[in-house]
């Protein structure tokens, strides 16, 4: 894919495109807890920890999908599986119709030009002994595009993320959290990718500067026609910046749909609990009771039936025995619950798109 340096606003994204950019089907990711020999020796039948189970979704071009979950939900693992840092044990990932990790080396290489990832900790995701200039131009070198004028590319990228050009010679430890994040963004957009996976883009940032990064990402989305997969636990931010939201619990999606629907009428008790647990910065709106008791069970000891039943305020006998399958409220809004909170849906009329 020989390219000249792409000027910013070259991608045209149709407003309601039906283009599926990323399609994930029944994805399964697991980690070995014991080596194969030791497992045999100790007679352990299941030596794996399932981090991601039966995840399916479709991400359309130009959209922003938020993966929401608490710690132990598997959301970071899912992000890493999609970028290829972690091997998958089942299911498939398709990017523009092609499975990038099945094809030969070249397939995966091309995939990494089209998909970039931003990591959670802004400073430690930057190689400590490299200058900002070298960090943002690393993608060009890795993909052997060094015939480009790297100096010019560095300038262009720094300009796009709003960093002064004299930052090019700085080292990561000389940057503030917000500045380091911008460098991460610059590196991610270096090769003009189609999809960016952002792992906790606002972690560690003060509330007064969170907006800067999110606004930057928003601007770049319009300029470059980007699609975002944002991994976060910050529901307040999700409500504003994402088109679709998927709620993860113990490695599965428990609810997935348009963000406005999810917040207006959450259908899964966990979603409702999460939303209710968000503190409101207004003393007049104090909560009088705790939304969700208990803690997320360990993935090594999954509950029987619906994995949320141990904490669910409306759990019934069926929930303890049978795991719920994915059901649809509408073509876009899916959930996994035997007894979804449909009363809140009584206000919704017809199907939503």
């Amino acid at each position: 894919m020989a390219e000249v340096s792409l000027a910013p606003a070259q991608r045209i994204v149709p407003a309601n495109s039906d283009d599926t950019l990323l399609e994930v089907s029944h994805l399964h990711v697991r980690y070995p807890l014991l080596g194969p020999i030791r497992a045999k020796l100790f007679g352990v039948s299941n030596r794996f920890l399932d981090a991601v189970l039966d995840i399916s979704f479709r991400l359309r071009r130009g959209r922003t999908l938020a993966l929401v979950g608490e710690s132990g939900s598997g959301k970071s693992t899912l992000g890493r599986a999609i970028i290829g840092l972690v091997p998958t044990a089942g299911g498939s990932i398709r990017f523009e119709g092609v499975e990038p990790f099945r094809s030969a080396k070249t397939g995966t290489k091309a995939y990494h030009r089209d998909v970039a990832m931003m990591f959670q900790d802004p400073i430690s995701s930057l190689s400590p002994r490299r200058t900002v200039r070298s960090l943002v131009t690393e993608p060009f070198v890795v993909h052997q595009l060094s015939n480009r004028d790297l100096e010019a590319e560095a300038k262009r990228l720094l300009g796009m993320v709003g960093l002064p050009l004299d930052f090019a010679g700085r080292y990561p430890h000389q940057l503030s959290g917000g500045q380091a994040r911008r460098v991460g963004v610059a590196r991610a957009i270096a090769l003009s990718p189609k999809l960016i996976i952002a792992d906790e883009p606002t972690a560690g940032l003060d509330v007064s500067v969170q907006g800067e990064i999110l606004n930057l990402m928003n601007r770049l989305q319009r300029q470059l026609g980007l699609t975002y997969l944002i991994i976060t636990h910050n529901l307040a931010v999700v409500r504003h910046v994402s088109d679709e939201t998927a709620i993860m619990y113990m490695g599965r999606f428990v609810e997935h749909g348009p963000t406005s629907d999810i917040f207006a009428h959450p259908v899964h008790p966990y979603t409702a609990g999460l939303i209710a647990a968000q503190p409101h910065p207004d003393p007049a709106r104090r909560r009088t009771q705790v939304a969700l008791l208990g803690e997320v069970p360990s993935m090594a000891r999954r509950p029987e039936g619906c994995e949320f039943h141990t904490r669910c305020p409306s759990a019934k006998e069926l929930c303890r025995q049978t795991r719920p399958e994915t059901q649809a409220i509408s073509s876009q809004h899916l959930h996994r619950c035997h007894f979804p909170l449909l009363e809140s849906l009584a206000l919704v009329s017809g199907g939503k798109c």
Partner: protein
């Protein structure tokens, strides 16, 4: 029960009084003025929230009260009074007696604030070392009861486990249990919920609310999370770059903020913005470098209402309502607030 050295007058209205406290750090590049003339009162039986973002000096203040600051920190001026006693003139041994007993602290990261090689039970019995009369089994019983109180199931058995065997939420509960075990008059909680998921955070907040009634103690709750502060506190102190820019009762701070920083901070909180918007508000600029504190108002470089006077003259505290003060020129003489 307690073996304190001298009786403490229990009639002071404020359990903690910080007046004009200034703290400096010696660094190779010069002195960093981390806190400048900070004044905070914690009335008995109340929960005071200390709000600040990074670089505000909130943790420094907590450590200063506990007299646990690093070697290169000096208190250049001001006073610290705890239940009427001057903390700054106390000898180290006296201060140590107070810590864990009358003043205790809960830290942000329960992973590192609990000793990994001693069992929970051992650590909780250790804290009671001052109590010479109580027997070992009684101390264990007291520890188990406190664990039950903070919501840890099966407490007798848990006493014999080590911190790493508990989850993050449990560890923080244990840290709180250890903090309140000796029924301190003041509990300083430094970002105790920041490292926890939001559902656990809600549980801890509820726990603190429940305990408050029983303890008769006061809490100084430090956080950057406005939502949690709103949930829990009676009074709020807003710190910015080492100065108290506003303080007052919680309704005043959240509903009638007097200082532009407080107002901007509230506006930036995405949880507070009702309508969905893609362009989120921010406060432009950066926190000032505390090596070179700007003259005039410390917030002036980033303030959208700044006038010339703000850049030249350091503002005094002006009243914005009963018990509500803000350090801003724009409030002077005005009756708004």
């Amino acid at each position: 029960m307690a073996a304190a050295a001298e009786p403490v007058p229990a009639t002071t209205a404020n359990v903690l009084e910080v007046r004009d406290l200034s703290v400096q750090f010696r660094t190779p590049r010069g002195p960093v003025l981390a806190l400048r003339k900070v004044s905070v009162d914690v009335p008995r039986g109340s929960i005071v929230g200390l709000v600040g973002e990074s670089g505000s000096g909130k943790s420094t203040l907590a450590l200063a009260v506990m007299r646990l600051m690093p070697a290169n920190a000096t208190i250049s001026e001001g006073s610290l009074r705890f239940a009427g006693r001057d903390l700054l003139s106390l000898p180290a041994s006296e201060m140590q007696r107070l810590r864990g007993d009358r003043i205790s602290m809960v830290f942000q990261d329960p992973m590192t604030s609990l000793n990994p090689v001693r069992t929970i039970g051992m650590q909780m019995v250790d804290i009671q070392y001052r109590d010479r009369q109580m027997s070992q089994p009684d101390k264990r019983r007291k520890a188990a009861e406190m664990l039950r109180r903070v919501g840890i199931p099966d407490c007798e058995r848990q006493l014999d486990r080590h911190p790493h065997q508990f989850s993050g939420g449990m560890r923080q509960r244990i840290a709180i249990a250890m903090g309140i075990l000796e029924k301190p008059e003041l509990l300083i909680a430094d970002e105790p919920t920041t490292a926890l998921d939001v559902t656990l955070e809600a549980q801890i907040v509820q726990l603190l609310r429940d305990l408050r009634g029983e303890l008769n103690g006061s809490i100084l709750f430090i956080s950057h999370n406005l939502g949690i502060i709103a949930e829990l506190c009676d009074y709020v102190v807003v710190l910015y770059a080492g100065e108290v820019v506003e303080q007052g009762p919680i309704e005043d701070i959240f509903h009638r903020p007097g200082h532009p920083y407080t107002r901007a901070l509230l506006e930036c909180d995405p949880a507070r913005i009702e309508e969905v918007c893609r362009e989120l508000p921010t406060i432009s600029g950066d926190v000032p470098n505390l090596l070179r504190v700007p003259s005039g108002c410390v917030f002036a470089p980033r303030c959208s209402h700044a006038i010339d006077r703000c850049r030249n003259e350091h503002p005094a505290d002006h009243q914005a309502g009963p018990g509500h003060f803000a350090r801003c020129h724009l409030l002077q003489g005005a009756s708004d607030g």
